[in-house]
Symmetry: C2
Subunit: 357 residues, 2 copies
């Protein structure tokens, strides 16, 4: 049977803690050259009817031999870049009847057959959080107990959970531009984590005194100022743009998620400025040579140390996702879904064939 799973199923089956536990050995497998990861590619064309919007078809693949799975993650997005306040944001338009389109297809490496098809949304925020959580395990001070988070949106909640799984966190503060949103987020996360999350009136008071600062925004402009840096802090970002070069240059150690910092780009000739602008932001980051920085596989395999001394300033930049992560998370979800009988069962022969190219 091939399972069609929903985000609800994924949310029920995949915890940040389980995902982190599965990811660590998988990253080591990648470091050993056993796992295989195919860099994301972005195919972009101008939207046929919406002005200043593009259609993007993005894919990434990965194989985790020890788990016996391969995965393809696909995003089929209508995207625009409106300004929100002072920052330019990337907006995915829910053009599919009010919904978005992101899929993970999971295959067996033993038989080739499709094991499951599931949406990527809930898994995405768990896999992002898992990578940053592993970054914290490898790089933050062992006794880090004071946590600040900039951003209170979709990614922020799992980022807090991952940080709490990685370090003995006692105090948590949050900030985002909207008073209403940060208050709501603080209340929800206080309840979920069983410890107080305090909404702060501005970013600077939020990050002051924190041992770990999480940036978890959709901003494509920096959200953290380099003069806020205090000795011993670990900075964790989910997008390269959140931390500017000045900040990265003041760090004693910076690691990236992976070395392929830019997706392979396949773009229609006539596509307008928005995506190009975004690429420029990424390109600007290259003042820091990401290729020479350790990546997460260097950290978990022990090839590189995350931190020398408690007073070191460290940063982990989650620069781009891997299909490989979706293969790991997909394997965890699929195993549990089969055990618990969740999802729509479709005949596998709907997705296989009796001829071959």
């Amino acid at each position: 049977m091939t399972l069609i799973l929903s985000n609800d199923d994924v949310g029920r089956l995949l915890t940040v803690e389980d995902c982190m536990a599965a990811m660590e050995p998988a990253y080591r497998e990648l470091a050993q050259g056993r796992g295989v990861s195919r860099t994301r590619s972005d195919s972009i064309v101008a939207h046929r009817t919406m002005k200043d919007a593009v259609y993007g078809l993005k894919s990434m693949d990965g194989i985790v031999p020890s788990l016996g799975v391969g995965a393809v993650r696909i995003n089929s997005d209508v995207i625009s870049w409106p300004k929100v306040g002072n920052t330019q944001r990337r907006k995915k338009i829910p053009a599919a009847d009010g919904r978005w389109v992101g899929l993970v297809l999971l295959f067996s490496t033993d038989t080739g057959e499709p094991l499951a098809i599931m949406p990527d949304g809930v898994m995405q925020r768990i896999r992002v959080a898992s990578a940053n959580g592993i970054g914290i395990k490898q790089m933050a001070r062992a006794d880090a107990s004071d946590l600040a988070i900039i951003g209170t949106g979709w990614q922020a909640g799992t980022q807090l959970i991952a940080a709490c799984a990685a370090r003995p966190i006692e105090r948590i503060r949050c900030w985002s531009p909207s008073t209403e949103r940060r208050t709501k987020f603080a209340a929800e996360m206080s309840e979920q984590l069983g410890r107080a999350v305090e909404p702060m009136p501005d970013a600077e008071s939020c990050v002051k005194g924190a041992h770990i600062v999480l940036c978890a925004t959709s901003s494509i402009d920096p959200v953290y100022a380099s003069h806020w840096i205090e000795p011993g802090v670990h900075l964790s970002s989910i997008k390269p743009a959140e931390l500017d070069n000045a900040t990265l240059k003041r760090c004693d150690r910076v690691a990236v998620h992976v070395h392929e910092g830019q997706p392979l780009s396949f773009v229609e000739k006539g596509v307008d400025a928005a995506e190009t602008e975004l690429k420029k932001t990424w390109a600007e980051q290259e003042g820091i040579d990401f290729a020479k920085l350790p990546d997460i596989t260097d950290l978990v395999s022990g090839k590189q140390k995350g931190r020398d001394k408690p007073e070191d300033v460290t940063a982990f930049v989650n620069n781009i996702g891997l299909g490989y992560q979706f293969a790991v998370a997909g394997a965890v979800v699929h195993k549990k879904a089969v055990e618990q009988g969740l999802g729509h069962n479709l005949p596998t022969d709907w997705f296989t064939e009796d001829v071959h190219p």
Copy 2:
């Protein structure tokens, strides 16, 4: 609704002629830099249990703006390389309960939503034939009427149909190593084409006097000898290995399907010789600099001429497939499937989501 279609559906809905007709303007769109094609990538690991086999997860993407579709084509294969007679062949093992796994996912560029999921097998042989057929239209002598085909397997039938659609073919001969298979193929194709297809006892007598020679084999060794070349012949191959360098060097004009002659390769460190061997065969072809040859988009857009004089020797090498072709063919299939009410209708919200990464 998202349609799940079968190979039977695709076979019923997609003719070689319709596919060729849709492909020609789409290739021009690609030449204009409007269409977008993401080169195939191959992720390869050793198979966990089968000796001398690998697991390959291959993907390619494409967007055809004028048709409003994007496609991802995925192959999830267990592969070995046995020797058959004197030639080494690539064998896809039907490990998925006796079946193979190749899928095309079709998306709307207007809404992002998944329009259809279908197997790639029948579409694959039609899209390969369409490319070679367009190659014939662009390169073969206008009065070519004598046709020979080497290979009588899965790809051969549609190759004949495409050649007959491109030129006023009167005489057809076929050859493959097995007397039984070539006799059966000749009988079947004679009936299907409504004109005699004659099985020949050897390759040389098969190609002698032909204006067009189609190579349509799964061989990874050459199947055509350069001393068989006669003035005015057009050689058409579905894999680079079928025509050796000596043959290509004797041609007045050679065109390739696309310039990305090699897939992007993502291979496990420990993977054994088979795939490497195959890559070597491709690499050897680089004695001819494929990057400098015209491709099919140069031909259909008129940037390059396919042939100068009737006595020129020409060759078209179908070196690698494009996700773009599956987007074109998928659009044709999807439109007709909706009109005719074919396929399993699944709720689109099984494949969309109300959150987004």
